[in-house]
């Protein structure tokens, strides 16, 4: 495939992720930390997030399925997930975590419960979009091109 076509697809995808609020400025901060000495930095950090968040969400769902839900434990998981998602710029995930914690503070159990599915959904969306983004990056590099940087 034509390199400039790949680069255009990449830029379009990245732009849409920002427009849809899936990514925020923090992601650009991460990209700026990546250079020729650390070419895989963003990929590495996002992969760590996939593992971390995947584990936390699994724990969350399993805790919610218990007879007696330990809400303090659940809140701790969400706190960690909020921190991780903020660190990589996963805005929607961070936002759902925040909503959850606001419900938790008000002892609104139903509100908390209603956040779990959206959290899972946002994570799945985030994962598939970022995987597509990284795949495009690989294709661009393989075709001898450079990855376009976004300025926000």
């Amino acid at each position: 495939m034509d390199v400039s076509m790949l680069q255009r697809t990449y830029t379009d995808l990245l732009t849409s992720l920002f427009r849809e609020g899936i990514l925020n400025q923090q992601f650009i901060e991460l990209q700026q930390l990546q250079d020729e000495n650390n070419p895989g930095f963003v990929n590495e950090v996002v992969s760590l997030f996939f593992e971390d968040a995947g584990r936390l969400i699994t724990e969350l769902i399993s805790n919610f399925n218990q007879q007696a839900v330990d809400y303090k434990k659940v809140d701790a998981y969400v706190h960690q997930l909020k921190g991780s998602s903020a660190s990589i710029g996963a805005e929607k995930i961070r936002s759902v975590c925040q909503t959850f914690r606001e419900y938790y503070d008000k002892n609104d159990i139903q509100g908390c419960y209603n956040c779990i599915q959206p959290l899972k959904q946002e994570f799945m969306t985030f994962k598939s979009k970022l995987e597509a983004l990284f795949a495009l990056e690989q294709q661009i590099v393989a075709a001898g091109g450079s990855i376009p940087m976004m300025r926000h």
């Binding site: 925020n24 400025q25 923090q26 901060e29 991460l30 700026q32 930390l33 650390n38 930095f41 590495e44 950090v45 760590l48 997030f49 971390d52 724990e59 303090k72 434990k73 809140d75 701790a76 998981y77 706190h79 960690q80 909020k82 921190g83 991780s84 903020a86 660190s87 990589i88 710029g89 805005e91 961070r94 936002s95 925040q98 914690r101 606001e102 503070d105």
Partner: protein, 233 residues
């Protein structure tokens, strides 16, 4: 590990989140710092050579004398083993020091960590006569004014809101340099560092979480599965 011809400042970064450790390491290295990352306050205290009183005697109370005897026998064994290990570490560390200066110019730590929190670490450092001049920076994902003032009162030089950014890291150098000047002058400097709080540009202004915290973090249930929690580069 190559011996640096130009002096590089060495930062000790402490965070139980593997992701945040990766991030702070990159931020610091990009800013030309030498970095050691650790995943707990306990390890930080060990690294700095501060004794943690809490780690030493978990007293188990038993009504049975026999059980007590067993406990004290194993405790003695453990103490001997620990003493031996400590000696080995001390010898190793001394050898290391002969060949290379292991000096920490700044400590940057997450506030909320299981076990010894960043605040506890800050306190221990400031209580230590040999380490109290090392600038300490606290990082937290939560913007809680009482937490921030508590840390600043305890002697923290900066309080960074997460996610930490390059612009935050650029504010570390003056604290390191100020301390090294202070050491040279045999200090008459009475001033506390200016309280500065950074906000990341993308931090949602609607973080309305109640400031219930007086230093108590929500229960951390993070399994330790990171490979090689200590990285020295």
């Amino acid at each position: 590990m190559a011996i640096e011809t130009q002096p590089q400042f060495h930062v000790l970064a402490v965070d139980d989140s593997v992701l945040d450790r990766k991030l702070i390491e990159r931020l610091l290295k990009t800013s030309s710092y030498q970095v050691t990352t650790l995943d707990s306050g306990t390890k930080a205290l060990e690294f700095l050579g501060i004794q943690d009183e809490n780690s030493e005697n978990a007293v188990s109370v038993s009504p049975h004398h026999q059980v007590n005897l067993y406990i004290s026998f194993f405790r003695k064994k453990t103490q001997i083993v620990l003493l031996f290990c400590n000696l080995m570490v001390l010898i190793g560390f001394t050898i290391l020091c002969c060949f290379q200066e292991v000096e920490v110019n700044l400590i940057i730590t997450d506030y909320c960590m299981p076990g010894i929190t960043g605040y506890d670490l800050l306190k221990k450092v400031k209580e230590s006569s040999s380490l109290r001049d090392i600038p300490v920076v606290i990082m937290s994902s939560e913007n809680i004014p009482s937490r921030i003032s508590r840390c600043m009162e305890e002697g923290a030089d900066e309080f960074f809101l997460k996610p930490v950014q390059l612009s935050d890291v650029s504010r570390l150098k003056p604290h390191i340099l100020k301390k090294s000047v202070k050491c040279q002058d045999e200090n008459q400097n009475q001033n506390k560092s200016v309280t500065t709080i950074s906000s990341p540009t993308n931090n949602v202004s609607g973080n309305k979480r109640k400031a219930t915290d007086e230093g108590i973090c929500s229960e951390r249930i993070r399994p330790r599965y990171s490979a090689g929690p200590v990285t020295i580069v």
